[in-house]
Symmetry: C2
Subunit: 238 residues, 2 copies
């Protein structure tokens, strides 16, 4: 019956605020979202793993309510599932969902390839004509898939940069963050690397020639083939 507990701390813990000696200021909501997005995309936290509010709040040294807001964003992006009173877990990637993602990725990357071809000066792509030539052959021969993928991602980000369409960029980003892991498993499938390489040479050639529509069609075919390979070997991949 001790009534309401009133905290009477007239002694304020004043001015702990800015900078202080302490270096890194507390990360904002977008900061934390970005960090967790990367962790999930890289599978530093496995699908199905639980994310604790308190745990994360301590790690980032922010109030728990901020983690809560972060969870709201992550949930709306479909990266985590929240169950009332039980917390948040990293979403699992269903097989069907992967195919849906690939269908969408197909048309969006096709669009970006076309736009990039229209927007960029043709010389932009010389770099990739070069890279997709001998060097990539070497990577395939040496089975150096990491270097292989690095080139791909460089190409991809250059395309998105020149497409100059933030809406498409954003949507593709939300696809990549879910399929990045899959991509690495597809490249190592038998024959896929060489097949994908020759498809990309065709795409780059069309872009260099300024033929956006052909480039778009070729890019779509490329992703269609990747999807087919995935379908064929699905039991080994997922």
């Amino acid at each position: 019956m001790s009534g309401r507990v009133v905290t009477l701390k007239t002694k304020t813990k004043a001015r702990v605020r800015k900078g202080g000696g302490g270096g890194a200021g507390a990360p904002s909501v977008p900061d934390i979202v970005q960090i967790l997005r990367e962790r999930i995309a890289r599978q530093d936290v496995a699908p199905g793993a639980k994310l604790g509010e308190q745990e994360l709040a301590e790690e980032f040294a922010v109030p728990r309510t901020r983690i809560r807001e972060v969870f709201g964003v992550l949930e709306s992006r479909g990266l985590i599932d929240r169950i009332p009173n039980r917390g948040a877990v990293v979403s699992r990637l269903e097989l069907d969902h992967v195919f849906h993602l690939y269908d969408v990725r197909q048309v969006l990357e096709g669009l970006c390839v076309r736009l990039a071809t229209e927007n960029a000066p043709p010389e932009t792509w010389d770099e990739f004509v070069e890279l997709f030539g001998a060097p990539m052959d070497e990577f395939v021969k040496a089975r150096d898939f990491d270097a292989f993928i690095v080139v791909y991602e460089r190409f991809r980000s250059r395309i998105i940069e020149w497409a100059r369409n933030p809406v498409a960029a954003r949507m593709l980003d939300s696809i990549y963050e879910k399929t990045n892991v899959i991509i690495r498993r597809i490249v190592i499938l038998p024959g896929r690397a060489v097949e994908g390489l020759s498809e990309h040479r065709a795409v780059v050639a069309a872009m260099r020639a300024g033929d956006g529509e052909t480039a778009e069609r070729l890019k779509r075919t490329n992703l269609q083939n990747a999807k087919e390979t995935l379908r064929r070997f699905q039991k080994y991949v997922l």
Copy 2:
């Protein structure tokens, strides 16, 4: 690079929602997000208008922290802008942004039209062969654009339903919620209604014939034309 890591034990237990009693349980975060999304899409709240946390908390009878979480979601969707210590305002729709949205909408609706053609039995589209015939001519003649748009939206939602691709559906949804207002302004532009109608007759015919690829191409052309009309009359629309 490890294999699967975590096994999640889901013991699904029947959950009794305790809202009950007369129905007006406190709305959840997704509920409120949905309501505000609609308000913004219908321009019940104007672009640039301020959204107050306390105000909304009182209206929905929920804690202010929940509104805060809602704002996090809305911000990540690009529907509102938040300025630290100053609150949230409804995002304004830049002209450039509208064109970006239309480029993306073009390829996504094209995809859905093709998928729907492949997935649905051909008779599905008879309804629209009929509707896009005499009835729509009447609407155009009578300048009953509301009825006109209702048919369009019915067609659109049927397509998305049969495309059976939740990823595309979700993305298109996030486009519609931003462009719905624009659409109503395009239809009333001189000649656009009849033009769009004849384009749609071609699309429906291809779908009825089971020719997905042609339908996709026609749908893309249709939206391309809509975009061109918009560009031509942009000063009257925005």
